[in-house]
Symmetry: C2
Amino acid sequence: MWPGLEALPWRWAGGAALGLGLALLVRGWRRRRAPRREVLFFPSPVTCPAALLGEPGSAPCPCPLPHGDSPLARLLRRLLSARRSLELCLFAFSSPQLGRAVQLLHRRGVRVRLVTDADYMALPGSQIGRLRQAGIQVRHDQESGYMHHKFAIVDKKMLITGSLNWTTQAIQNNRENVLIVEDAEYVEPFLAEFERIWEENDPANYTFFPTKKEQK
Amino acid sequence: MWPGLEALPWRWAGGAALGLGLALLVRGWRRRRAPRREVLFFPSPVTCPAALLGEPGSAPCPCPLPHGDSPLARLLRRLLSARRSLELCLFAFSSPQLGRAVQLLHRRGVRVRLVTDADYMALPGSQIGRLRQAGIQVRHDQESGYMHHKFAIVDKKMLITGSLNWTTQAIQNNRENVLIVEDAEYVEPFLAEFERIWEENDPANYTFFPTKKEQK
C-alpha cells in the first residue's frame, strides 16, 4: 500500500473536477475561437440605420422606414464592431450609411485607412471627400487598370469582401454578395494585399513623370 | 487468473494495431475532408493556357508566352476540376481562356448552367453567344438593377467568388481578388442563390408587358 492511499476518493474527486474544469475551459476557448462564416445577399430593403449609427440611449427614430434587420443593417453591424483598426480597399464608395459608419468609427478612435480607385473617387455622391475632410487617411491608386477590390478588414481579424461596391445603387438595386470571413487563410493574404497597395500608393513616393507636352 | 491470460501480449499487439489502423483511417479521412481555402490576386501575368486546355498527351505548346503558374492558370485549374456540374453567375464574361475552359467542361459532359446580366451579355468580345451556340444553357436577368455576382460553383462543393469579372481587362489590368472556398457555410447559400436566380429567370415564365407605345 502507498502512503496516503486512504485519501484516494478525494484525489479522484479533485482529479475529476480538474479534468472537468479543463474540458469546459477548452470548450469555451474553442467556442470563442470558432471563426465567423456568414453570407449577405443584396439587394437589401432600405431599413433605418439610426439605431446602429446614433448615440447609445438616444430616442427611437420616428422615421417611416422599417426598423428591422436587413443585409445592409448586418453589414453595418459587422463594420461597427471594429475597436482598433479598419482597412478599406474600395473601388467605389458613395453609400451615405456606410460613410456615416466609417466616420463614426474614426471618431471613436479606430484607425481607419482607405484605398480607392483614382477614376471612381469623384463619382456622384462620393464619400471620399467627406472622409478626407473628417481626417481619415485616404490613398488612391495610380495605375491604368482599376483598383477593383471591395473589401474591409476589421481589427485585422474579420474580412468583409464580395461583389458589392459601396454605393446605394449596388445595395438597393443589384444582385450582390458579401462574405464575412474570419479564417486566417483568407484574412492574412487580404491584409498583406492591403499593405502592398497602401505602400505602393504612398504620396511621399509618387513619381511625377513629365507630361507628353512637357517632353517636347 | 483469467483464462487465456497467457495470450495477453498478442492481445495487446492486436489492440495496438487496431488502434493505429483506426487513427490512420481517421487522419486520412480528415485530410480528405479539410476544406480548400485559397485566395488569388490579380492582375495576372499572361501565361499560356494550352497545357490546361489542350488534349491530354498533346505536344508542348511552342508559343512565346511563359508556361509557368499564374493566378489565371490556378483559376482555370480549379474550374477544370469539375466532373459533374458547374453553375456560373457572371456579370460580364468575355475572357477567351475562361470561355474555352467552360466549353471544354461542356464537351466533357459536365452540366453547365450560366446566368448573366442582360445589359452586359453583349459587351465586346462577349463569350455568351459562343457558349449558347455550343449548346450551354444560358439565362439572363430581367431586372433594372445589375446581376452583379461573379461566382462559379464546381460540383456543388467548391465556390469560386470575388471581385473579378471574367474579362481580359480585369484579369490582366485590374487589382482583383478571387476566393476558392469549400466551407459549406458559404457554398450552400451561394447554391441556393443560384437556384433562386435560375428559376426567376426561366424564359418559360417570362411576362411580356406591353411597351408604352402599345399601351397608348
